[in-house]
């Protein structure tokens, strides 16, 4: 046999074709992503409802550096606006965008479902219910100096996903994730119903609930950044470490088990990490739609489907996308704000249809 004849060949180094077939982070795209993020952040710092000149921005930015500190002659009012309001908001936008896109990619990998994102298992519904309960029944209280509303949002999101997971596990076997997703949908519907009921019966809190759902990037500041950063760093790090395992998961739960990998364990860890990060972000920024779906899908279309590539690039492009969306949100109707969720959904929904059309035959 022709094949048997090959057995006697000496073993060599990995051939070029093999290496070509392996997913590697395309440095060109990674570089482009980094440049885009940097550009978006620079733009975000330069543009705002209050005009601050480039010279002032540079002076304010270099002021903390000892050597340049003495040279700054920037207007303290403008410096305060930049340092206390604009820069933290840009940073928070980047952190939130990176988290949502990374979590979206992680969920898609964990559930092998292109439509999955943390909201699928009820994270948004849970966060909204938690926040609504806090607004309606414990307004203005704080726990260890932290406003109870984002805390309740965080707990609500985590509780919804945990509930969906527990419910999904009891109704579905090892082999598919559909039961889990259905459980998430049911939990989300249930939580939404309770939330709507409370909101309707406590009409004086409607406006606050509404503005919470639309997001609070407006008021967060450095406190917001510091509040979410630990969760986001841990969550993103854990997800990044699972890139290879998420790729492995794509052969299906049973086959991956035969490779010595516990699909359930991988899924559980990834879902916990992505949910905690998302819950933290939702608690500060509200539920921002579509970032977790459109960013990873765009990356897949451009660069390929391996999570070794999709996750790091989603992180970069998610951060870029949200910084840009937020810049639009605060400048388009300046000095009024537009809700950032409206911008992301307005761009996201049509984009999503295009993505579905172009991948209809393949991914779905």
């Amino acid at each position: 046999m022709q094949i048997l004849a090959r057995f006697s060949r000496p073993v060599g180094d990995a051939p070029e074709a093999l290496l070509q077939g392996l997913p590697r982070l395309p440095w060109l795209w990674a570089g482009a992503g980094a440049v885009a993020l940097l550009g978006a952040m620079v733009l975000g710092v330069l543009v705002g409802p209050v005009h601050i000149g480039l010279g002032t921005v540079v002076q304010v930015l270099v002021a903390p550096i000892p050597l340049f500190g003495g040279m700054s002659s920037a207007d303290p009012g403008q410096a305060s606006i930049l340092w206390s309001l604009r820069i933290p908001r840009v940073v928070l936008g980047a952190v939130v965008g990176a988290m949502l896109a990374t979590a979206g990619a992680a969920y898609q990998g964990a559930f092998r479902n292109p439509l999955a994102d943390p909201y699928l298992l009820g994270a948004a519904a849970g966060a909204n219910l938690g926040a609504t309960l806090a607004i309606a029944f414990a307004p203005g209280t704080s726990v260890i100096g932290v406003n109870v509303v984002p805390l309740a949002g965080f707990i609500g999101a985590a509780a919804a996903v945990a509930g969906a997971y527990a419910l999904g596990r009891t109704v579905t076997g090892l082999r598919n994730t559909t039961g889990l997703i259905l459980a998430g949908v049911a939990i989300a519907a249930f939580f939404n119903a309770i939330q709507t009921y409370i909101q309707q019966s406590q009409t004086n809190s409607i406006r606050q609930v509404y503005s919470w759902i639309l997001g609070r990037l407006v008021t967060a500041g450095w406190d917001g950044v510091l509040l979410v950063l630990p969760y986001v760093v841990v969550s993103v790090a854990v997800i990044l470490l699972h890139r290879r395992l998420l790729d492995a998961l794509s052969v299906g739960d049973e086959e991956v088990t035969s490779l010595g990998i516990s699909a359930r364990r991988v899924r559980l860890i990834v879902v916990i990490a992505a949910t905690l990060g998302t819950a933290a972000v939702v608690a500060i920024a509200g539920t921002i739609a579509f970032v977790g779906i459109i960013v990873p899908h765009t990356v897949r279309l451009l660069v390929g489907r391996s999570y070794r590539v999709v996750i790091p690039l989603s992180l970069l492009f998610g951060a870029t996308f949200l910084v840009l969306a937020d810049t639009v949100a605060r400048t388009l109707a300046a000095p009024a704000e537009l809700p950032i969720g409206v911008i992301t959904a307005l761009v996201g929904a049509p984009f999503f249809i295009v993505v579905m059309r172009s991948t209809r035959a393949a991914a779905l």
Binding site: A17, Q20, S250, V251, E254, A362
Partner: protein, 268 residues
């Protein structure tokens, strides 16, 4: 030692018993074919050995019980080629085969040069070298089957479980795949347990056959001992001629049954 021993194995899916009282042992370097009519429990036995399904009784590889091994440990001892492996869209052949290195990596580990070399070697041996960068969904049926075997071989496990290796392949591809498995078995001393539909191919490639009917082992032995015309008529309800080939080998040829012949005789 990499012999596989099953003692009093029972497998049930939700109270429905599909395999019961199974005692079977397969020695190192041996090819055992599991044969039997549809629903006999062939695939369930393979899945039990790979611990993909719950079972009672004992399954050992060498001296160690499968139940006591960690998932990774088991995957280093036993590799399985599914009947219809799931081939993720957009994944390259080399990436797919490299997944077979998973049991040799730590949880957060990353494949190294050594793993790549193992995979390159296997791809070369399976004539997949030039297809390494090709997407799985762009492969032909035979190429897909070879890729699935390549992934299992990358596990470098001494026990290879194969579920219906030749279904949906043309006769040339069937032969190619079985020759390949047999060559690897001979060269590396693999223990091969294969669920096989085609009795002629089973009768030629396997050293021993285990005939299962409704979850029970009814005969085990050499092709000559198991593949008899009365046994096949009894258990498969088929009319066949069994021919001797290459000494121990057997070919099973279906012939038209008496009922059909009787109808034909009445025709003018």
């Amino acid at each position: 030692m990499n012999d596989v021993v099953l003692r009093g194995v029972e497998i049930a899916y939700e109270s429905e018993v599909v395999v019961s009282g199974l005692d079977l042992s397969v020695s190192s370097g041996e090819w055992l074919a599991l044969i039997g009519p549809n629903g006999a429990g062939k695939t369930s036995i393979l899945r039990a050995i790979a611990r993909l399904v719950a079972y009672s009784g004992e399954i050992r590889i060498g001296t160690q019980a499968v139940a006591d091994m960690s998932g990774r440990e088991l995957a280093r001892r036993v590799a399985m080629v599914m009947q219809e492996p799931h081939m993720p869209e957009g994944m390259s052949v080399s990436q797919y085969v490299l997944l077979g290195r998973s049991p040799h990596l730590a949880y957060f580990g990353k494949e190294g040069r050594g793993d790549q070399r193992v995979v390159a070697d296997i791809l070369e041996r399976l004539a997949l070298g030039r297809l390494a960068a090709r997407r799985l969904d762009h492969l032909s049926g035979g190429e897909r089957q070879r890729a699935a075997i390549a992934r299992a071989l990358a596990q470098q496990a001494p026990v290879l479980l194969v579920d219906e290796p030749t279904s949906s392949l043309d006769v040339g591809r069937q032969q190619e795949v079985l020759e390949l498995i047999d060559g690897l078995r001979a060269e590396q001393g693999l223990t091969v347990i294969a669920a096989m539909h085609d009795l002629t191919l089973a009768g030629q490639y396997a050293h021993r056959l285990a005939l299962l009917v409704a979850g029970k082992l009814v005969a085990v032995g050499s092709p000559a001992e198991v593949l008899t015309e009365p046994a096949i008529a009894d258990h498969y309800g088929a009319q066949v001629r069994v021919l001797q080939l290459n000494g121990a080998g057997r070919a099973v040829i279906p012939i038209r049954g008496h009922a059909a012949a009787a109808v034909e005789n009445q025709l003018p």
